[in-house]
C-alpha cells in the first residue's frame, strides 16, 4: 500500500483558518492553553505515530487478520506493541478530562489525532476507540469508587474496553435485547447472555478488557426502558487493585469479515459474569448514548480516513501510470504515453475522492468544535445551541461521510484499473475496510430515520431552521461570491420547503418519513457540504496565490463540488418527492424471485 501521509496542511487549514481554533479555544474553560503552537505540536506528533507506527501495520493487519483458538484471540503481529506505544505516548488520555486522569484537552484535538491514526490503520485505531466506551460510560454514570478503580488504567491505555450491545436477534432494535442481570447480595450483578459483533471483545493486546454491557435487570420493563448498563471486567480485581480471578466472560468465536480484519469482532458469552451497575437501573441506554453520539462522529471520521486513503493512493499512480495521449495534445511527448492524470475521467475520480475527503474533514471538525463547546463552555446558551446543532448534524455526518467515503475509496481503486483489484496495492483493502462504516454504529438507514424523525420532524424543524438561518445569513453577507452563495441560498430555501412538505405528508402517513429518509439525509449532506465549501471560497479568495497556490486549489475544488457533485441534490429531491406509495404498495409475498 502506498505510504500514508497525514494531511497536515489541510488539517491546519480546517482547524486554524476555517474554524479559527485559537479564538475558539480561548473561549473555553480550561482550554486556554491550547495555542496554535500546542495544537500544531500535538498534530505533528500524532502524524508521526500515524505514519511511522500505525500505517506500516495496515496491510499486515489485513493479511494476518485475527486468529481464534480455544477462547483466545491473537491480533496481527505488531498490534500489541503499537497499542502500547499509543498508550505510553498519551494518545488514549488526550481528550479525557484531567479529573478522570486524562490530559483534559478538548475533544476536537483528539479528533485530529484520531483522523490521522485511523487513516493510517483503522483496525488498530478501533481498539483505542472502543476503550473509550467504558471510559465515557464511567465518566457520565459511574460512582467515585468505580471511576477510581477503572479509569486510570483505561485512560493510560493499559487496559482495553468494549461496548457490548448487539445480540444475535437484535441490532438496530435494541429494545429486544435479552441479556440478564441478577443482583447479588454484595450489590454486584450476575450477567448472563450472548453478545455478537463485539469489536475487541477479546485480544492479546492488554491484560484486562473492561466491557460496557447492556442487560436487563430481573423484572425490568420490556423494551428500551428496561435496559441497564454494567461494567464487566474480563479479569476481576483484587481489593488491592491487582488482577485477580478470571471473570465468566469468554469469547466464543470471531467473525470472518469482508474487511477490518485486524480488529477482532467477537461473539461474547457472559456465563454468570460479575458486573457492576453504572448509573441508575433501567437508564442504561441514556448512559450508552452519550458514548454513541461521539462514537457516531468517530465513525464519520472513518469515512474521511478511507476517502483520504483512496485519494492518496490513487494520486501518485495517476501521475506515474502512462496510458494513452491527452485529447488536448501530448503532455509527455518523450514517453510512450501520457500519465493518466491528464485524462478528464481520471481527474473526475480523483477530484471526487478529494472533495469527499476534504469536505468530510471540515464537517467532522466543525462538529468536534461544537462538542468542545458543549463540554467546556461557560456560556449556557452557547452550550444549548451547540447541543442542538450536534443533534441535527451528527446523523448527517455519520451517514453522509461514510457513504461518500466508500464512494471515494471506490474512486481511488478505479483509478488503478485492474491493479486496484489486486491486494498488494492496498486499494481494495481500503474499499473493504470502509464498507463496515455504513453498517455499524447505526446503519445509514437508521441514521436517516433519526435525522428525519427525532431531529427534524419531532423537533418541529426548530434546529433545522436555526441552521438554515445561519446559512442564509452567510449567503446574504457574502453575496459578492454569488457563484456559490446564490445556489446555496436557493438550496437552503428548498430544504425548508421540502421539510414542510414531508412533515405534512408524514402526519397523514407515517411511512412517508421512512420512505424519504435516506434521500433526505443525503440531500441534507450535500447542502451542508456546499455551505462549508462556500465558506472555504470566501476565505480562500482573500489569499490570492499565497502558499504555492493552496488557496487557488481550494477554489477549484469548491467549484468542482458545486457544479459536478451538488447537482445530485436534484436526484434525491425527485426521489423523495415521489413519496412512499410505490415503496409500500407491493405485497410482501410478491418480492418473489
Amino acid at each position: 500500500m502506498p505510504a500514508y501521509r497525514a494531511p497536515l496542511r489541510d488539517m491546519h487549514f480546517v482547524m486554524n483558518e476555517l474554524l479559527d481554533a485559537s479564538s475558539h479555544y480561548a473561549k473555553l474553560q480550561g482550554c486556554e492553553e491550547v495555542t496554535p503552537d500546542l495544537l500544531a505540536a500535538i498534530i505533528d506528533s500524532g502524524a508521526k505515530f500515524a505514519e511511522n507506527v500505525a500505517a506500516p501495520l495496515n496491510a499486515i493487519g489485513d493479511e494476518h487478520g485475527c486468529k481464534f483458538d480455544n477462547g483466545k484471540v491473537t491480533t496481527p503481529p505488531g498490534f500489541r506493541e503499537a497499542f502500547q506505544q499509543y498508550g505510553e505516548a498519551g494518545w488514549q488520555a488526550l481528550g479525557i478530562p484531567a479529573e478522570s486522569g486524562g490530559q483534559g484537552l478538548p475533544t476536537s484535538v483528539g479528533m485530529c489525532v484520531n483522523e490521522m491514526i485511523g487513516g493510517a490503520n483503522w483496525a488498530l485505531n478501533m481498539y483505542a476507540g472502543l476503550a473509550n466506551a467504558p471510559v465515557t460510560c464511567l465518566i457520565h454514570g459511574g460512582n467515585e469508587a468505580m471511576k477510581a478503580t477503572y479509569l486510570p488504567r483505561l485512560v493510560s491505555g493499559e487496559w482495553g474496553g468494549t461496548m457490548c450491545l448487539t445480540e444475535a436477534h437484535c441490532g438496530s432494535d435494541v429494545g429486544l435485547l435479552r441479556t440478564k442481570a441478577v443482583k447479588n447480595a454484595d450489590g454486584s450483578y450476575t450477567v448472563t447472555g450472548n453478545k455478537i459483533f463485539i469489536s475487541g471483545g477479546e485480544q492479546d493486546i492488554t491484560p484486562n478488557i473492561i466491557h460496557a454491557v447492556l442487560a436487563r435487570i430481573e423484572g425490568a420493563p420490556k423494551g428500551t426502558k428496561g435496559i441497564s448498563l454494567f461494567i464487566v471486567p474480563k479479569v476481576l480485581l483484587n481489593p488491592d487493585g491487582s488482577l485477580g480471578e478470571r471473570n465468566a466472560v469468554h469469547c466464543g468465536s470471531i467473525e470472518k469479515k469482508m474487511g477490518n480484519k485486524g480488529n477482532a469482532t467477537c461473539v461474547m458469552n457472559f456465563d454468570g459474569a460479575t458486573g457492576f451497575l453504572v448509573g441508575e437501573p433501567n437508564r442504561g441506554l441514556n448512559c450508552m448514548f452519550t458514548f454513541m453520539n461521539s462514537a457516531r462522529i468517530g465513525t464519520a471520521i472513518q469515512g474521511i480516513a478511507h476517502a483520504e486513503r483512496g485519494f492518496q493512493g490513487a494520486l501518485p499512480y495517476a501521475k506515474e501510470r502512462l496510458a494513452m495521449r491527452s485529447l488536448s495534445g501530448k503532455k509527455n511527448p518523450d514517453g510512450a504515453a501520457d500519465p493518466i492524470i491528464v485524462h478528464p475521467d481520471v481527474r473526475r475520480l480523483l477530484l471526487t475522492a478529494k472533495v469527499f475527503a476534504e469536505g468530510g474533514r471540515m464537517l467532522v471538525h466543525y462538529l468536534a468544535r461544537e462538542l468542545d463547546i458543549v463540554q467546556h463552555s461557560a456560556d449556557k446558551a452557547a452550550q444549548d445551541a451547540a447541543e442542538d446543532r450536534l443533534a441535527l448534524l451528527t446523523p448527517i455526518a455519520k451517514a453522509f461521510i461514510t457513504e461518500t467515503g466508500f464512494e471515494a475509496a471506490n474512486c481511488g481503486m478505479q483509478v488503478f484499473g485492474g491493479h486496484g483489484y489486486i491486494a498488494e496495492h492496498g486499494m481494495e483493502q481500503n474499499v473493504r475496510d470502509s464498507r463496515i462504516s455504513m453498517l455499524y454504529e447505526g446503519t445509514t438507514g437508521i441514521q436517516a430515520l433519526d435525522l428525519i424523525g427525532r431531529k427534524v420532524l419531532l423537533n418541529g424543524g426548530v434546529n433545522l431552521n436555526l441552521f438554515l438561518d445561519e446559512i442564509d445569513t452567510f449567503c446574504t453577507g457574502n453575496a459578492s461570491h454569488s457563484e456559490f452563495t446564490a445556489p446555496l441560498a436557493e438550496l437552503s430555501k428548498e430544504w425548508r420547503t421540502l421539510t414542510g412538505e414531508l412533515g405534512e405528508k408524514a402526519v397523514a402517513n407515517m411511512d412517508e418519513a421512512g420512505a424519504a429518509a435516506v434521500d433526505y439525509l443525503m440531500y441534507a449532506g450535500y447542502v451542508t457540504q456546499a455551505w462549508l465549501w462556500a465558506r472555504v471560497v470566501v476565505l480562500a479568495s482573500t489569499k490570492g496565490d499565497a502558499d504555492g497556490g493552496f488557496y487557488q486549489a481550494k477554489i477549484h475544488t469548491a467549484r468542482f463540488y458545486f457544479q459536478r457533485i451538488l447537482p445530485r441534490t436534484r436526484a434525491h429531491l425527485g426521489s423523495l418527492r415521489a413519496g412512499s406509495a410505490s415503496l409500500m404498495a407491493m405485497p410482501e409475498a410478491l418480492f418473489i424471485f
Binding site: 429486544l176 481494495e428 411511512d511 486549489a553 457544479q563
Partner: protein, 583 residues
Amino acid sequence: MKYTAPLAHMRYLLNDVFEAGKHWAEMPAFAAIDSNTVDAILEEGAKLCSEVIAPLNRSGDEEGAQIHNGIVTTPKGFPDAYRKIAEGGWVGLAGDPAYGGQGLPKMLTVLFEEMLYSANNSFTLYVALTSGAALAIHAHASDELKQTYLPNMYSGKWAGAMCMTEPHAGSDLGIMKTKAEPQADDSYRITGTKIFITGGDHDLTENIVHLVLARLPDAPAGPKGISLFLVPKILVNTDGSLGARNAVTASALEHKMGIKGSSTCVMNFDGAVGYMVGKPHQGLAAMFTMMNYERLSIGIQGIGCGEMSYQNAVRYAKDRLQGRAAHGAANPQGVADPIIHHADIRRLLLTQRAWNEASRAFAVYVGLQLDLANYHPDHDTTVKAAQRVALLTPVAKAFFTDKGFDACVLGQQVLGGHGYIRDNGQEQLVRDARIAQIYEGTNGIQAQDLLKRKVLANGGRWMRDFILEMEQDTLLASPVFASEEDAVLKACSTLRELTLWLVKQDKRDADLCSSAACDYLHIVGHTIYAWLWLKMIATNPADTDRHVLGRFYFGRLLPQIHALDAAVRSGPDLVMDLPVDKF
C-alpha cells in the same frame, strides 16, 4: 446461499416483451427453435446452476485458486462441475453447429449466462472466457485452426483464455511489447509476459487455448502493429491428439479482492509456438469482434450478482424481526416486525429489483440485436442491428456493472452488520461484482468508447436513430400509462438535446467529451431503462405488481438523470483546471 433462477421474468421477457418467436421465425438459423425447447433449456440451466454450481460459490471463495510449481488448481468441486456442464453441451450453447456448437440465439443464452453468474462468478469466468476465445477463433481463424480447436472448445474438453494485458499496458494496448517471430513452417514463436489472465492455467480441462496479442518484428508502433495468435497450452498433433507441452506457463496468481476461485494468472510465453489468427497487424480488430460479446457477458456478471444479492436480501428481510412498521404492527404476535415492512428496507430491495429487471430486459434486447446482426437475411436489418450493438454494448457493460455493484452494496446493507460477515454471502457478491466495473475495459473506457467512437464519430446519428426507436415504441404503449410515457419521452428529449450539445461542443473542446463521458453513459442507461420499464409494464397491463415496480423506477430512480445532466453540462474546466501539482 440458495439460488432460484427468475424464470418467470425471463420467460416474460422472451415470449411477451420481445416476442422472441416472431424474430426467430425470420432467421433461418433459429427457425427450428420452439418454445418447448426454450423452456426446457431455461429449466435445465436453472437446475444446473442451483444444484451443481451455486453450492461451490462460498467454498470457492474461501479456498481460492492455488498455484504450486506453475500448476494451478481450482477449488474443490470445480473440475466435476465443469465436466457436468461440458457434458450437457452448455459450453457451446451459442457455438456454430458446423463445429459442434448448439447454435442457440444470444437472446436466449444471455439468460443462461445470468444464471451462471448468479450462481458462481468465479466458476462462470472459465466458461465465459472459453466462449469468448471460441468466438474470436470462429470469426477470424483459418478453417484448419477452426477444425482443430473449435469442436473441443464447444464440447468443454478444452478451455480458452485471452492474453492481452501486460504490466505496463492495460487500457492502452498500443504500447504492448510481446513479440512474435515467424518460423519456416508458418508458425510463430511468442515471447513475452502477460498479466491478469483469467483462466490462464487451471485443472478443469486437458488443454487451454490462449489467444495472444503480440507484435511481429516489422510491426509499426502503436495499436496498428498488433497481431493475434492462437497458442495452445499443449500442442496438438496432426491427428488431433495431444502432443508436447508448449512453452507457456503460469508463474503466479494474483491475490485479489474477489473472484478468488477464478485463477488470475501471470503468463510467461518463452518462445511458445503460436499460429496467427486473421491478418498481420489486424489483431486488435479481430479481438474487438469478440469484445462486444465479452463486454455484454461481463455486463451480465453485474446482473447476476445483483439478482443473487436481491434474493439473499429478500429472504433475510422476511425473516429478520426488528422494530415495528410505521403504519402499525405487521406481526403483532411476534416481538417485532419483519424488516421488509420498513419503508427504507423496501427502498433498498426495490432499487435492486428495479435495476435487475431493467438490466435483464436490456440484455435480452442487446442479445436480440446481436442475433439480428449475425443471422437476419435482410441486409438493412443486419446493418441497423450491428449499429445498435456497437452503440449499446458499452452502455450495457458499464451500466449493468455499475448498477449491479450498487445493487450488491444495497443488498449487503439490508443485512446490517450481518452483511459484513463472510458466511452470509452478501459481502462476497460486493467483492466479486467489483471487478466487473474494471475488466474488459474499465467503465471509464466504456464511456469514452460510447461517446467518442459511437456517438460523436457519426455526428450523433446512431444515437438519434435509437432515440427515435424508443420514442416510436413508447407512442405505441397503452394510454393507461400516460404519465410513464411522458417520463420516457422527456428522458428521450433530455438525451437528444444533450447529445446535440455534445456534438456541437466537441468541435471546440477536446477534453469536454472525456469529462462528460461517464455521466453521459449513465443518462443513456437511465433513458433506456425508463423505456424498458414502460415496455415491461405496458406489455401486460393486467399485471399490476409489475406496474408497482415500474412506478418505483420512474418515481425514485429516474430522477438521477437530472443530477447527471447538470454535471455533464458543467463542462470540462472543472475537472481540467486544477494543476497536477495541486491535487
